[in-house]
């Protein structure tokens, strides 16, 4: 009885998630999907999405790796607060993130006037897209990297030090390789989250083809008239990419 109920409950939720996703695939023929993705709108959005997410990922790796290491190794007061702040964007609604960015980096925001004084205006730019993505996606990498560093045996780092390796070389040749599966898994997850970013982007960066219209924005904007096929084609692409992401992350998690 319990078993039957468990199976029924599992199947219900599974079907609820899988059927709508599968439904997108049957809506159009593969040829129509290809045509939708080949449309200028989709191709421009794809280019913007690829460029911005790769920049976001690079910046997240550069800034997030030291932060994750400090969170894993550092012993300082208020670490739990820093931990919570880092995790916050994961649960905060993206629209809130966008509004927050706007009120700080917008033209009349907190940092708007000083930035403007040195000739930088961020709202409605591709840079704003990258900022929105880093804001919402970087915590996924930092979390994973922090766990990865925590799992590294400190005796091995100590051994490396006794063998004459400096802290930087120990980090590069001992810690990072040992934490590599977690770092890679986190990086892929971070990239996928950046790719799917919508709410903070439209709020902070606006929506303009070739500047700030990423794939998710293109989906929303093309849910119009006959262009719904473009929206579906992009959706199908994003599901395929997401599925690949999950499979990659699984592999690294198991490794």
């Amino acid at each position: 009885m319990i078993r039957a109920a468990t199976i029924v409950a599992s199947l219900l939720l599974l079907a609820f998630i899988a059927v709508p996703l599968a439904g997108l695939f049957v809506h159009l023929s593969p040829a129509q999907i290809a045509a939708g993705l080949a449309s200028p709108v989709a191709r421009t959005a794809l280019r913007i999405s690829l460029v911005t997410t790769l920049i976001s990922l690079a910046l997240t790796l550069a800034l997030g790796t030291p932060l994750a290491y400090v969170l894993a190794r550092g012993d300082f007061r208020g670490r739990s607060v820093v931990d919570a702040v880092v995790d916050l964007p994961i649960v905060v609604p993206p629209a809130v993130a966008g509004l927050a960015l706007l009120l700080v980096f917008g033209r009349f925001g907190l940092l708007g006037p000083p930035l403007r004084a040195i000739g930088i205006e961020l709202s409605f730019t591709t840079a704003a897209v990258v900022m929105a993505q880093i804001f919402v996606a970087s915590p996924f990498y930092v979390r994973a990297a922090r766990s990865g560093f925590l799992a590294v045996d400190r005796d091995l780092e100590a051994a490396s030090a006794t063998l004459g390796m400096g802290p930087l070389r120990t980090f590069a040749f001992v810690t990072v390789p040992l934490a590599a599966p977690a770092l890679l898994g986190g990086a892929v997850l971070c990239w996928a989250r950046a790719l799917g970013e919508f709410g903070a982007t439209i709020m902070f960066a606006g929506n303009l083809e070739g500047i700030s219209q990423t794939l998710p924005l293109a989906i929303y904007l093309n849910l119009e008239n006959g262009d719904i096929s473009i929206a579906i084609a992009i959706s199908v692409l994003m599901i395929v990419v997401s599925l690949a992401t999950i499979l990659v992350v699984r592999r690294y998690e198991r490794a």
Partner: protein, 260 residues
């Protein structure tokens, strides 16, 4: 056995919920309405509920989004659009119960932030290089009305023949609905935008300056309303349409809409 019940109860609830929702609840309706109608409709709803005993739930968004949602089977009782195109899309698809009726008109107005960072004092300035123009997307009614207005100004009053193209080159964002345009201008992110005169609510008007279109340039926005064919509450839908066409006019006028 007790544990089994604990497991089964949520499942039963899950299964029953759609059934309960499917059974027509004659005490409420869902109205899909253009974002620009928010203030007027929210003010009118209590009067409608008081008169008919029917509670109203609103879904405000860009009319294009709403039309797409209804075409995909969203459970709307009434659709109130900010232009005739989106309503026609539903009519052509056979998704309406009866012909749509025009219940209001609205005027386009240019807006700039109070600080006026783009130094915009007339609609003609929208085309000056470097002015950051924020419009609603061309598929959103106010976005298409605005572009039509710019096109009508081509070559008039000493403006260049490609005035509309020049404005389009200045567009820094195509927003999802008219309220988003008002917000971006009120925050000062954009230099100039186009909204409806009814969007100049007290809170928005405090942060923006409005700029009139030249006489005859801006088309009046036409708002049609209709009951949706697949309405879960058909009687309630018709009651709401009738209400908007008669008693509801007071609330629309109070918010600056023009009678049809």
């Amino acid at each position: 056995m007790k544990r089994v019940r604990c497991l089964l109860l949520p499942i039963a609830v899950l299964l029953a919920a759609p059934v309960a929702a499917g059974a027509a609840d004659q005490g409420k309706i869902t109205v899909f309405a253009a974002a620009s109608l928010r203030e007027a409709f929210e003010a009118a709803a209590p009067a409608f509920t008081q008169k008919t005993g029917i509670a109203v739930t609103f879904n405000f968004a860009g009319s294009d989004t709403l039309a797409a949602q209804i075409l995909q089977g969203a459970p709307a009782d009434v659709f109130a659009s900010a232009n005739e195109n989106q309503m026609k899309k539903l009519a052509d698809a056979g998704a309406l119960a009866g012909a749509p009726a025009t219940f209001a008109r609205n005027r386009l107005v240019g807006i700039v932030p109070d600080a006026n960072p783009g130094n915009v004092s007339a609609i003609a300035d929208f085309a000056r290089p470097g002015v950051k123009v924020v419009l609603a997307a061309a598929t959103v009614p106010v976005g298409s009305y605005a572009r039509a207005a710019f096109a009508r100004m081509n070559g008039h009053d000493g403006l260049p023949a490609d005035f509309a193209d020049r404005v389009e080159k200045n567009v820094v964002s195509n927003e999802l609905d008219v309220k988003a345009v008002a917000t971006k201008i009120a925050l000062g992110e954009g230099d100039a935008g186009v909204v409806y005169s009814t969007d100049l609510t007290a809170s928005v008007a405090a942060k923006v300056k409005s700029i009139a279109f030249p006489p005859g340039a801006a088309p009046e926005a036409t708002y049609p309303i209709a009951a949706v064919k697949s309405a879960p509450n058909a009687a309630g839908a018709h009651a709401f349409v009738a209400f908007v066409l008669h008693d509801g006019q007071t609330f629309l006028k109070a918010r600056g809409f023009i009678s049809p």
